[in-house]
Amino acid sequence: MSDFSRRLPVYLLLDVSGSMAGDPIEAVRHGVKALISELRSDPQALETAYLSVITFNSAARQVCPLTELMLFREPVLTAGGPTALGAALRLLTDCIKTEVRKSTETQKGDWKPLVFILTDGIPTDEWREAAAMLKSTKPANIIACAAGSCADTSVLKEITDSVLLMNNLSAGDLAQFFAWVSSSVKLSSKSLDAKPGAGIELPPPPQGFVIVP
């Protein structure tokens, strides 16, 4: 049995600011749970994907370090406070630096990480520099999702070209978002092939979601 398999690091950056309190945070909690259970039932994802959760409100916190799916424990999520997206982006950069294995003469490196950012508001801290850094150095394939009418897609566009807009913050839409994340991870862990440097393939976004051009 192959012990030379590479890991696919997956980071979830979740907004837990005050505006997410109540039903939305509950839906996110369910979403993470469903995501884990879906990924565990896909043999390729189970073998390849490692998951980490970073939350942000007044500060950013890595509530789950990069962990293999079988050992992953769902984080306790509580909402409240402002939207420190900048801090989350800086923390993400640090985590990628320390957690993602690089290819060396003696070590098989990890796949390029996959990052999903979910936010429903406008950042309340300094975020531009961290965003620009991520966009220029591309340490990961980042997909950002603006949830609801208050989110600012132009902010997310400064982090990545792949931005989705979810029209409202309903439980149904959030559930769909996490189901889509799971399909994306499954598809990526299957088609991790080939063309070095080519963009990743993602499934079409769920109904009601818009790809921000």
Binding site: M1, S2, D3, S103, K108, K112, S191, K195, P203
Partner: protein, 492 residues
Amino acid sequence: MNRIGEAILASGRKLPYVITDNPPRGGMKYTYFAPDKSYVVQFFNDPSKVDANMRRRIEAIISKYNPTIPESRGGALGTDEKRAAYFEKRFCWPTDIVVSPEFGLVSPSYPSDFFFGDGASDYLDLKGKDKKSNWFTSRNRRFLNKTELGDFRSMLQMSLLLTRSIRRLHQAGLAHSDLSNNNVLIDPRSGNCVVIDIDSLVVPGIFPPEVAGTRGYIAPEVLATMELDRNDPRRKIPGSETDLHALAVLIYEYLLLRHPLIGPKIFSTESAEKDDFLALGPKALFIEDPNDRSNRPENLDVTISDLGSDLESLFLRSFVDGLHAPELRPTAMEWERGLIKAWDMLHRCENPDCDHKWFIMHDVKNPVCPFCGTRVKSDILQLDICAQPRGKKGQWRKHSTLIAENNTPLFKWHTRTDVFPDEKADTGLEAYICSHEKAWYLINSHAEGLISPMGSPVPAGKAIRLTNGTVFRACREENGSLIKVSIIKGMK
């Protein structure tokens, strides 16, 4: 929340299907199930890729190239009821084209054996999930309960069944083109497998499909030339030769539970993607390459040499000679012959706790289970089956070996040398081995023309005593075989 959709078929017939929010999705298509799950309706991820060419190809696949319905009912040439019934179990062959709401396919659901049931795993909730090969051949194996894992014999049986299915495709000039762990479902408990995703078949005379392929199964030359323009003559596209690479990878995985090319060698430190591209593409190197050991894992306990010389040579031809030279890869027919020979040499491991339970007895002088290291202590009964080369009457050449035990059956392909155990073969029992009061016998069940070592006919119901050195004709006809018996004394 689920809605019911209605698929209108090319024939005008209407079929309902359940629309779900996040349908299972592969590289090409996504799938909805029938309300009673008896069939599936599949649509393409990218409907813009559906063109006249694809329609023509799929129409041909469903009708004149279809080995799962007899020729008399519109199936493939030369397919009779028996062969159609055989391949119906081995392929999940599409049955209809959907024309509305958009272009799609209808395929039968696969049998329940290929879905996990209750108690498949103590760690995971797998009930209802399909049995993709890599649940069993990757590290994921550790999460499954032992009852799901089968044994070496069932893995060998699946290798043979899969090979036969691929041989059937190639015989008709077809190629699967996307053979992978995802497109072959296996049930190691019963030793059955089924080939799915038939719609990307390469059909003679029709422009081939654009297939992305699956990591680990794409032939090295396809991966290496993927970036070239589709019309560039150097660009290699999937076909029967690339199927033969994927087939060899799958057989290797089934028998040895590891991937033949993924080893410790680092090909590039630039990025994981680059390293992987080289490791599976232009620089691919067999982990058991006898001449270059740089990709060999440290502790390879069981290797291809433990599988007997027939399979060893097939693997070397696939992964050494033919890895970068597609024309040198063994054909599916050659694999089928090699696997049959290996099957006849299966022997039960005497260690009741051996996970693999069976191994290939390729060296009776050193009879050790390669998986658990247990030495065989009892006597070994070996029947060398010999054939008369055409035009050389009276000369006998060894054709294959049957390692037998009590109740081992002999079929037509043992008693005759002009019968090959394929899907058409007569599977009626000819004779069987019986061990009685420390002596071995061959009991005739239905064999016609069985002759005793002394030259007298042995009718059904009568037996031949087998001792070391016994030689007899299993069938008196010209194509009947000659059997030489050896008994290798054990330590008991």
